[in-house]
Symmetry: C2
Subunit: 252 residues, 2 copies
DNA sequence: CTAACGTTTTTCCAACTGGTCAAATTTCCG
DNA sequence: CGGAAATTTGACCAGTTGGAAAAACGTTAG
């Protein structure tokens, strides 16, 4: 019997390019002409306005480019010029769509979060523990493979001490993890999983999967030309499945 | 019988402050007066010169401060001014000891690497597999706890694509991992460990342990006030030990 | 066609950046 | 002590950075 081959879903083809996760619709273009306005209405919460085709396109170009740059150099290390060039437009042109560097960054991050946490959200208390966890690991690994820039953007923010998302970590994220930890604990109580700290289990899943995005250079360098190719995600999936299920110690 | 409490060695006391890993002695101070010199001798490899007390002290102050700044903001995101201020001296003064920003960074990284890889180097083929791996995990976790800035510095370099250390990754690091992977494979052949890809095993150990340094903010935010305190490393050690040894699936 | 709007470009600026240099100050050593 | 060497400082500089302003250009509905 051949070893169980863990199938992880095919990556999107290059012809159908992976689109940026962060596509949250948002405020309309910040118009110079409207600069002083909105002060009377408290939080500037007029009607969202329908966004023209050009606006949508250009904003997407910018966010796509910004993701590239921010994910490699972090917030401080990235420059508007770099992003503008990558997006194929001039700096003032870019600033016409996003008034400040920070605005771009924040849009990226907030657009990212929902998708980023989706796999964990989907973990279902009524499901079978083992398949649920296996599938969570697999989905997380797929995200590392298909959205490595998003992963690195997030990692960069963490390394800086998360100054821009700390509230969300202590709020939404903690709440979600608390909830799922409770579910996992329940499974353990039923004897369907070995007893272990559910929080650290979640950390371990995050760490091992995101590692393949964040430390990609290192992974590829160490695996070398032959083993570091496209197959490495299959290998990783297979390995992680066995690690999380059975560990290393043989049953004597 | 109480659950086995994994002991991880005590952190250095605050009174005996953790010294920077990177303390490689190196070139003497780059003297303005000697600027043009050294061109005749090929690589400027005169005698290393003994370094005065002040030189050692100031260089250490600078490296210590630089580690703080670089590890949070990456190379591009860090400024000499920040480092100088953190080190309690003026920018020109700092530049008297290290002629360029990059010099500081490189010294930091090269001084770090040896120590960073020491735990893996120590993994011994003639030892018992299970204790060897357990102890490797423990040591790695201790390093994440005691040298989080070093871990973050390294992570930052990886996120940027490792432009300054890629050679070392493909050279020394790959060689070391290849060697240890062979040892682990040997152990598996003897039936002393469950069969699994040794490269991905090493990645998993790196990822899970370094996570506690690199994503420290997140870990603390999610664990909350009560569980995120100093005990979290004990909990992590305990969890990782069980995960890597036995996995999650109960033996039916 | 044209006025009104949305978009793009050119020009500009003040703050910050990495780095230099000579002068002033301190330390070291006989 | 006295002077040479080592160290520190203040002034400076050229290039980059985030961003503002306004003029120029394009598009489209009437």
């Amino acid at each position: 019997m051949p070893p169980i081959k863990v199938k992880i879903a095919d990556p999107p083809s290059p012809a159908d390019p992976v689109e940026t996760i962060a596509q949250a619709q948002g405020q309309p273009v910040a118009k110079r002409a409207l600069k002083g306005a909105g002060k009377g209405t408290g939080k500037g919460a007029g009607k969202p306005k329908p966004l023209t085709r050009i606006q949508r396109e250009k904003q997407d170009q910018i966010l796509e480019a910004a993701l590239d740059i921010f994910s490699r150099h972090g917030f401080r290390g990235a420059t508007i010029d770099q992003i503008a060039e990558q997006a194929g437009m001039s700096k003032p042109n870019l600033l016409y769509y996003f008034p400040r560097k920070e605005t771009i960054y924040k849009r990226l991050i907030s657009g990212l979060l929902e998708t980023w946490l989706a796999p964990l959200s989907e973990m279902d208390a009524s499901g079978d523990p083992i398949p649920e966890i296996r599938s969570y690991i697999r989905r997380k690994l797929e995200m590392a493979r298909d959205f490595p820039r998003e992963s690195r953007l997030f990692a960069n923010e963490m390394l800086e001490g998360a100054p821009r998302v700390i509230d969300m970590l202590e709020g939404e994220l903690k709440a979600l993890v608390d909830e799922k930890a409770k579910i996992i604990l329940g499974w353990m109580d039923e004897g369907k999983l070995n007893r272990a700290d559910p929080y650290h289990l979640i950390f371990a899943i995050w760490a091992t999967t995101q590692h393949y995005a964040d430390f990609d250079v290192q992974v590829r360098a160490v695996l070398g030309r032959d083993r570091g190719g496209d197959g490495r995600y299959e290998d990783a999936a297979h390995f992680l499945e066995r690690l999380f299920m059975h560990g290393l110690q043989p049953r004597r």
